[in-house]
Amino acid sequence: MGYLRRHPRAVPYLLIAPGLIWLGLLFVVPLYYLLSTSLQSGDIYEGFRQTFSWSNYSEMASQYRPQLVRSIQYAAIATLAALVIAYPLVYFIARRGGQWKSLLLVLLIAPFFVTYLIRTLAWQTILADEGLIVGVLRDVGLIADDGRLLATSFAVVAGITYNYFPFMALPIYVALEQFDGRLLEAAGDLYANPLKAFLRVTLPISLPGVFAGTLTTFIPAMGDFVNAQLLGTPKQYMIGNVIQSKFLVVVDYPLASAGAVMLMALILVGVFLYARALGTERLTG
């Protein structure tokens, strides 16, 4: 204590030290290794050498472009689907839930107490060829008699949508829960019908929640590999599957690292453009 009293200027530095050490050890150092590994070449038997060659990146970009593009597509569709499903649902809970609000919210989150893997495997059963849904769809002719849901892009996107749904729902819920309903009266008073009032008042004010929700859904969805693996086939594989197999199956660390770095860079650029498009001023209020 004597030291602190003699050096009051040290206090803020000491307070942020644990965070900085955490960030350094668990983010900066691994990131450095990832970047440096991505610029190595060689193989697991003869060892990897630092060659500063960009070939890993060009190989990733050319050979695995379909998986990269697919990741963006799947993640974007799943994010959009989650938004379209989550917004009306949490709007109802937040604005009309009344005394049932907390219960409804718990019900919304409850499935996610079950582990990720089990939830995804459950979708295998739900979408199975001999399952109820496929049976009904075949009977009414919405899909062909030998048509399937499992092992299709639909199954993978549906799985991603479902698995990241709470990340979309909760931030929007918070935004709508804090929304002052009296503003809607004011909008009505100023000649806006309910639809216009929603578009000009509720939606813009809940936009920070939508922004947070889409990011927390889109970012992990981009890197997801479990859904493609369990609900799809190699034809549905995403960049996450490639990275996973390069790291753990093929054991080509440099190529896997290059894939991971590329994914990160893509997401960073995407988030930046997205924030610019929505307008940071509007988002921070």
Partner: protein, 357 residues
Amino acid sequence: MTEIDVRLEGVTKRFGEFTAVDDVSLEIPRGSFFAMLGPSGCGKTTTLRMIGGFEEPTAGTVLLGDQDVSLLPPYKRDVNTVFQSYALFPHLSVEDNVGFGLREHGVPKAERATRVAEALDLVDLEGYGKRKPRQLSGGQQQRVALARALVNRPRVLLLDEPLGALDLKLRRQMQLELKRIQQEVGITFVHVTHDQEEAMTMADQIAVMNEGRIEQLGGPTELYERPETAFVAGFLGVSNLIAGRLDGGDVVAADGSRLAVAPDAVGGRSGAVRLGIRPEKISIAGGDAPAGASVAGTVREYAYVGVATQYVVDTAVGEIQVFHQNATPGMQVAQPGSRVTLTWDPQATFLVEGETQ
């Protein structure tokens, strides 16, 4: 014959078992400043909300001009509201807030900009258009709310306790400001408040409400000088009420003393009544009363407040409060325990209903 802007015909609003507004009828002439005054829960805000379209009446009709709007949603009514909470849109700038209604009405951009600037000018906020509401003080936000409603030039402007959140000094200032603006734009203002001084300062006509009904409707002077019910007499200022019976134009108090009443205050009343007299209309003098002309009593308490002295006097007809203006220099008229005589002009009296058992 002046045109009527708002007409309520037998309007009732029930929330479940509770009757918030009970068979209210009134007419608000064009260009007037009309106040609905009453304690909280008296139904004044509910009445306002039915004019604005935020509540549907359970029974009765709300008319704007000749149009029955009872079931019309707010966005189809030519009425704008200044909300108690202001309800400014936090994501929009001041000028976008003010221009909100014009945009909904499809007013072209250029005209919109001119009218928004005019409205901000009217409420002394020129140059604040680009700011966000949260960058403004409470008083400034209040003005934005006012401008946002006024800019649409509605048939009627509704004000729901608009000054309630302001401190006393700012409130006084805004009262005069609102009055000035109302005279400038000539729009009918309907103002809800529980502050009798605010209503008296601003309104041409005041409806005093209690338990969902209008107790009395009239100008400030009329309400203060000739309240018709004990509630109005007590809600607007302080009153002494002396119980008695009407007899040949006089009130005979419980102790048998006869008190003269202003003839035009009698109205159609008879039987048990209470005679009212305002504390500042009573003169107080030392010594015993000349019999029959006034009331004698003993000073129980007094409080010297500089400009006036307040006395509480025990008399044969009950406790009477007196405000004595300290207009002449010198000592106090009376000390506690001293005998005094209270006199007043019978013209200053009024009558309200007798005490209910």
